[in-house]
Symmetry: C2
Subunit: 346 residues, 2 copies
């Protein structure tokens, strides 16, 4: 492992820059002193698009590629037409850098408010496929804008794409105490894609006899997310189902202010990208109300991905302590960041 | 309105026949004495498929078509490969009879257990599109079973299909006290279908100035289902998102034992079909544990659809009273049915 990290930083829009600042503060505080952190900021997102009409140039993509990892705050603003930044920037990065493992842990910390009665034990991780499915951008319209318009969206699923993420999920499940893996799909309706997923899930599973497996339709899975979330350990699912389930997971574990994610290219061919699951929340930008914890937890995922396991654990412990100690009194974004730094250094 | 009802009954598998029996009992008890109820039973589902290999013949489809409505219990069994009965029977009926409005009310009754803390007020209805989207069965596989397999699923959306269901949703929203309609889609990623939905939603909305409108991405919608379900009044959404959201809605309103649905062809060209949202639950079939309430509430939707508004309301009131009076002691399927009949007749 090299003792320097070249980190690309995309602060983005709204609260993005505010939470990223705290993430970098915590990262700086936890890294061993002999590790050199080189950061380079990229001005991408709504402001940039308004100014230049660009979402992400080929030159920027090449430049981003020269990094060990990417930290992203949040991009988007209501002033930008829906889809422009999502397809032109966020998904473009995930696809260009082959982020086929979209890792989204869901953990209910003691003391965190949850909308669920009875405070179930929740500690699972969703492995969301990140480069296929309904997200490929395949589809179009004909007779556009007429009463005869037809609009299609094509979900494309490949054996290669499914197998690599399923394999990653089995590996992660094997390394956890409960060793349980649940496939979520809708193979009774989306029979072509569903059977591909199920067949590969079953075949690869034969190589992991120590992992208990389970299959749920996506609709049934949402029921268990609220009635019995404790049953889940590792979940593997497609890109769209993963999008939906991880927001629901964030909600039941105390909200999107704590939900971290890693867009991971396990091969290491491209830099992986770490970002909070939440959006740019323009309504609270500049007020100091943004909770940087999801970004800090994303930094922990980044550290782990780069091989700094002990440092990742220290950040996670700091967050767990901080969250557990919360008494409901208001703290600014910056104050939460400082508190986390203190705990990391303690 | 004709004073006779020709009702096709598909009891189906597992608990299907048990809950349908109670639904018919309540229906018989509430109908005015001058209304003749003619029922005809269709032996469709897993048992039939095992016996004959058939899911639904053309002759049966023609025969079903000669009815005013269809009451369905539940179809499916683990012994049947996933997709066979769903595509060959359930979805075939929805598509052949152009059930473009899939109506799914979500109401939290007083006293019903909900997994949500704080017992929010929940009273909304989801209008799920029923004949388009990812459910069309368009797609396939190539290089099937090889490491190079590609599987696709095509979501097909038409202006005609979207406009008619959106219009129906505005009509229903207008007739409710709160007059609020929320479109749920994912138009920042599924841009082609999403923009078609959003454009039509906005255009038709101009004809309904009294209806307040709102748009949510499906992932964000799941968050509000658990953190603030009271914000919803009427929701209109696509076939797959509607499938997912209505199971989640059932979960937060006390479970799938209370969730009713109507597969409606508002034009009246074809018979509409009413069914509980739950499945055939083979694990509890024959034990008397099945709650027939979802089927009885589906019967209320059936009555309303056929113009028996007062009778529909009586059934709904009976259910509300029965559910509110529950004290947790066990009652069989039959006992719950009897209790509902008593309340209807009271
Ligand atoms: C912003 C959007 C494109 C994105 C997604 O749908 O993946 C977001 O919802 C997420 O979950 O990261
Ligand atoms: C059984 C299945 C085909 C069906 C669906 O996906 O529509 C069910 O989940 C439902 O919601 O009615």
């Amino acid at each position: 492992m090299s003792r320097s990290i070249r980190l690309a930083v995309i602060p983005g829009d709204g609260i993005g820059p505010e939470v990223v600042a705290q993430g970098l503060k915590v990262l700086g505080s936890v890294l061993p002193s002999d590790v050199k952190l080189e950061t380079r900021e990229y001005d991408l997102g709504a402001r940039r698009w308004h100014a230049t009409g660009e979402t992400l140039t080929g030159v920027e993509l090449d430049s981003l590629k020269q990094h060990d990892a990417i930290l992203l705050g949040a991009v988007g603003d209501p002033s930008v037409p829906s889809g422009v930044l999502e397809r032109g920037l966020l998904l473009k990065l995930r696809f260009a850098f082959d982020h086929y493992v979209n890792l989204r842990p869901a953990k209910l910390f003691p003391n965190t408010a949850t909308p669920l009665a009875g405070r179930p034990d929740i500690d699972f991780v969703v492995i969301r496929e990140g480069t296929e499915g309904p997200y490929v951008g395949n589809g179009g319209t004909m007779r556009t804008g007429t009463p005869h318009e037809v609009a299609t969206e094509v979900s494309v699923n490949t054996a290669l794409g499914v197998e690599r993420v399923v394999r990653d999920a089995y590996e992660r499940a094997r390394s956890r105490p409960r060793r349980k893996l649940t496939l979520v799909h809708k193979n009774n309706v989306l029979v072509h894609a569903g059977h591909l997923w199920k067949n590969i899930f079953d075949r690869v599973g034969q190589e992991y006899p120590e992992v208990t497996t389970d299959y749920l339709h996506v609709d049934a899975a949402t029921i268990f997310f609220v009635t019995d979330p404790g049953r889940f350990d590792v979940i593997v699912t497609d890109n769209l189902f993963g999008d939906i389930l991880t927001d629901l997971a964030a909600a039941v574990t105390g909200g999107i202010g704590l939900a971290a994610s890693g867009n991971i290219n396990p091969d290491g061919t491209f830099p992986s990208m770490f970002e909070p699951v939440h959006g740019s929340a323009p309504d609270i930008a500049g007020t100091g109300k943004a909770d940087p914890t999801a970004t800090v937890l994303s930094v922990a995922l980044l550290l782990r991905h780069l091989g700094f396991e002990a440092e990742a654990a220290r950040v996670e412990t700091a967050v767990a302590e901080d969250v557990t100690a919360r008494d409901g009194s208001f703290r600014t974004t910056d104050q939460i960041g400082d508190a986390l730094v203190s705990r990391v250094l303690a």
